[in-house]
Subunit: 214 residues, 4 copies
DNA sequence: TATGAATGAGTATTCATTCAT
DNA sequence: GATGAATGAATACTCATTCAT
């Protein structure tokens, strides 16, 4: 545990990524993981830095070596999770001859089933419940998740219209209607009816079918 | 902050200390109004009792004469607003010969336009953002607003199905799809895109038309 | 209940002691009684003026018509009780030919038995527990109860010495030793062993006999 | 208040913030000492945590690192003092051939003189004045000090009776009479006559002699 | 780098007291 | 006189943050 500092530094320099750096990264991850759990369970205001440290099994002062303030920690946590989540729908990936409906079914429906399993719904909830206090989070979320998805959807719906798959152009004007059930599901499952959850994937699919019906 | 000092002084003098039913009611209303504003603007955690009192133009201790704790004040405020909001859709009010689609258009669409104007969206947001800390509020909201609306919608959709207005029974199974755009709109306007709002009424209407389309 | 004010005043003046004065005195007594109970049960610090008023079945502001402050109320309560308690032992009352021991037995022992029954021990306890905060109370108690008793006892012991009933003069120097068991009993019963009380009268008597033994 | 500002500043600088067992112990001692002084001077209710901290020359929040509440601080302080005070009289220590009277004189009388000097009378007073609010303290006091002493005394008096030193068995029934003057002295000196104190040791001794007189 | 003792600003809550009715 | 709504000073307690070790 107690090697001479110089020896440690040399080693680190020699490898370019010494054990201390690795440990540092591990500590950082532990802090983020612990903080996320706490924020999800208690919300920002009721989460204490001490609880985060305890959960990460480190000292109370250590998180401050990685994040200057509690606010920064929160932002860092959410930023990481949001940045890590890629948009699942990319119009460019549509197979030749594949209808838009088929494409959306193929890509979005499985993604929906992942929404809750991979904790994305929980992150979305956090952005919703704490967004008023942290506009940055909302900005990030919008930029990384919300807006890109709408852009893709709009393009897809435009293609569907152009290719005659959609009779009317109204959906092109309101791509929101495709994702409304998702948000409804998040609100329902995460905030309003935590016991009796709806199946977001199914809801999305049924809605999709109805909207694309001729 | 927003009043001239002299106006404040006059008010203070006007507000007496003696017993008076009228005064009591007025004070209570002032507290509730002030508290609601503060809670909406700052959230529960960042609202101080002192700020509420200041906003209501009363002394720091006065709110405690009406609500024993900050929690109780919050609950009281939200409870009052939620209880006061009646569900606008009552299947029994459908005019003879009126289609379900026409009925929903007639009743829901104007209600949607009221959602934001009358502050109901704001209350919904508060229930969403603080519901984790105050499960009672979620219970109330569900009991008074959410569940009753779904019940009515389900009955209407069943009628639409029975009367041949709907070809498929899938909507009867998922009345949620009718209100999904509303929640999407609330989330969008109140939490995600406070600058660029969507028109919840229009969204609801377009969605309605698409879902009822033959 | 609602007579004209003037009629009431006239009546009061006519009798010289009208019903309002009588009622006033009754209210005052109710306040004192209620306050004493509260102070005994909760101590000064934990007694609220509101609790006193509630117990006296009057409004919160009414006690202030009789006592300007809570301190004054406390002082008034104790003062009244202490002043009302006469010293039981008066050397002048000794019957001709009666030994001092016999006299003390005749007068003190029954008084001791009253100490607890009539709430004097409770008052003494209140003076002990709150005396540090209210030196006035201690002064009153000393002046009205403590010192006079010692004076009488000293005189009696001197007489006993002069009349040969006591062989030694040591008790004359320490009349305290006669009352020590009383205070011990008060401390024991009121503060240390509220469940298993000692019989103060018996303790006093046994001690008396031992001290007067030849 | 009692220190020059510069002295205070120096101290503050000397007190570091880092972990240190020695510092911890010193801080804890400072808190307990300061709290005891405050409680003795003001009583529990009138002692503020801020005053304790100021007296200990630490920050307002520091005492809470050692005692979770004001109640716990008070209990901790008294508990420590009561636990630290051993009963001076142990029947087993009686020298062979030593009379009980001589033994009591040898052991108790010096102890009495210590009672006030070492602050035991003050602790006893605190237990008396705050015992109603803190029954635990009374329990501790009884268990550690009061009951053990009575047990020893009863044994000694029984021995004195058995060995013919006492003619009557009445004292065996009432060992309280031996300690009555002590409590009288405490009440007198600590609460009733803080100016004109009695000599508890002398009172005890005179009483002892009178009770053991043949 | 990590630690955790110490800091002190911030806040909910209480309650003696006032005074218009 | 009595009432009780309103006042606001006082205070226990929390917790993000700092920094000597």
């Amino acid at each position: 545990m107690r090697r001479s500092t110089s020896a440690q530094t040399e080693k680190a320099k020699a490898r370019g990524r010494g054990p201390s750096l690795e440990k540092t990264a591990r500590t950082r991850d532990a802090i983020i993981a612990a903080a996320l759990q706490e924020f999800l369970e208690k919300g920002f205001a009721d989460t204490t830095m001490e609880a985060v440290a305890r959960r990460a099994d480190i000292a109370k002062g250590t998180p401050y070596r990685y994040f200057p303030t509690k606010d920064a920690l929160f932002e860092g946590v959410v930023r990481q999770r949001v940045a890590g989540a890629l948009v699942e729908v990319n119009a460019a990936n549509r197979a030749p001859g594949e209808t838009v409906l088929a494409f959306l079914r193929r890509t979005m429906v499985p993604a929906m089933h992942d929404v809750e399993r991979k904790g994305r719904a929980a992150i979305a909830r956090l952005v919703l419940t704490e967004g008023a206090r942290f506009p940055v989070l909302v900005d990030i979320y919008r930029r990384e998740m919300f807006d890109p998805l709408l852009v893709e959807l709009r393009a897809l719906l435009q293609a569907a219209r152009d290719e005659g798959e959609l009779k009317s152009g109204v959906l092109v004007e309101h791509p929101d209607l495709l994702i409304a059930p998702i948000w409804y599901g998040i609100v329902h499952n995460e905030l309003l009816h935590r016991r009796r959850k709806v199946d977001i994937g199914e809801l999305f699919e049924v809605n999709l079918d109805l909207l694309f019906r001729r």
